[in-house]
Amino acid sequence: MITINAYLGVDIGSISTKAVIIDEENNIIASDYIWTKANPIHAVKTLIENLEKQIQNKDIKIKGIGTTGSARKLIGVMLNANVVKNEITAHAIGTLSLHPDVRTIFEIGGQDSKIILIEDGIVVDYAMNTLCAAGTGAFLSSQAQRLGMNVEDFGPIALTSKNPTKIAARCTVFAESDLVHKAQMGYKKEDIIAGLCQSVVNNYLNNVGKGKKIISPIIFQGGVSKNIGVKKAFEQEVGENVIVDENGHLMGALGVAILSKSTPLKSEFTFKIMEADFDTKGIECKGCSNHCEIICVRKNQKLIDSWGNRCNKGALK
């Protein structure tokens, strides 16, 4: 059996954690996707364990590790990653490896949404939502709960609507009260759901996509891209075909895995990470009235890294 040089990419988002293992040619050897449940350390441990099961029969040597997503720093320390990258760059690189001709990437995740514009294979402009959560997955799931259904069913139901209800967008608070109002007025459920999908799209385009030139090919990814109703609303609003890749949720992880190829690994990686005990502790620095909260990461009770201090007064180690 020949040894395959492989690279691990982990994308730890607020809602879900994704990981891929790729080979030298960027082919995905193993991948997995689980909920973060506000416990990134545990999620990553489970994920790594799942990945190990998938590659049991192969002789694989991990040569590089990359982390991205909102918990990238913490998990980067935990896995001893050689690349810790922001999700914007990671998504762009990952998507470009599969769709080299892409010009626009729509990404709507659980807590944030972004737009990335690409010209000749390089990022030329991007934006991330700065104002509110109205255009994100979290909004859709909370509304699903209100309507007493699973968010996964939203897409197909939305497609059955012939006359989507207009829901006030802009802000989750307005949208929610408008939704209640419309429901009490007697609007049909599928029309309301289709209206919700449209309001997510309108919010996204008015907020994140404001002033950006949207050119096709357009790729739509992130958790919300699995919702066919939102995809359709996008196509109607933009007037172009919108592509949803079946691996769309893995793009960030794929991107960092690719990035980790170019940097040498700091130390050898083993799948034995389950055995080590990681925990974090927040302490407040009493150096001045800034009261910086310093996050300490400990492995088997030993401090391995810390951050959060603004000045040297709070430097640990």
Partner: protein, 355 residues
Amino acid sequence: MKKEPMISFPHLGDYYIPIKFLLTHLTDYKVIEAPPITKKTIELGTKYSPSFVCIPFKYNLGNFIETLEQGATILFQAGGGCRYGYYTEVQEQILKDLGYDFQMMTIGQNKIITLNYLYKTIKKLNKNISFFQLSYYVLLTLFMIHFMDKIDDYIRLNIGFETQKNSFIDLKKEMLASFSKTTGFFSLLTKYLKYKRKIKNLKINKPKNCLKVGIIGELYTSMEPFSNYFLEKELANMNIQVKRFTNASFLIYQKKFKIKKMQKYIKKYCTYELGADGMDNVYRAKFLSAKGYDGLIHIKPFGCTPEIGAMPIIRKVCEDEKMPIIFFSFDSETSEVGIKTRLEAFYDMLKIKKG
């Protein structure tokens, strides 16, 4: 019991040094600067400010509260061509409502700071001061500000490439301490030349084609590092050369002479002025594009009306010039992590583009 009169004023970057110097020499009172800005400052400011007011208001108010607690009895505030013009009156009212006993002074009126108006203000505190005396110290302070800004300009261009960490900042601290002990024009000039030589002699390792980024936008968030989450420091850590036009020298005396020139340069985009510094930033966007800069960062407080007016025009300039730009809005609720993520992505974008 009557408290001993003590003068104080809000922070703006390092300018507390010349301001303190000026006020100390114009009056016989003790002058203290507000305690350094910390999270506590902005918490206090936010708590007592109208929630939608721009962030500099909150910082200033926080500064005032903290300095009043230290025993200040006379507060100085300036004013400008936007909401800044109402800061003095509104803050005075808020602080009086909170029960503080103090006297509020303003050095500007109808958007501009004039020598005559300053004289009238200072006369209230010091009856014996002559117009000549005032002019002398104002001029000396202006020179100090001018020298500080010149040194800062050089530092911004080079600090990202220092070979010894903190060498620039340490030397600058030393310089500022020495500036505060200025006795006259000759003493100031000697100090300036000495530190200029020292700073230019600091070792740097700067590649010819380093990344160059311009910071444009509103004045307070540009000049007060705490309010922009130490943006310039972050950029320096990424080894980026930084250019920033907005400083006290520009606002106090250079701008007047440049307006006509700026207007002509951006005739294609703006027919009229945009209020406050809006037009200046359109000019800078075009100017820096022509100068071969790699990217622009536009910063403003959340809800800053003049800059909101300028943004679509700046966007148009950047589109025409193919200039990458990102916009940041700062408020008391801004997430620091969000800024870092965007900034990192911006850096990656410029770096990959440059190749």
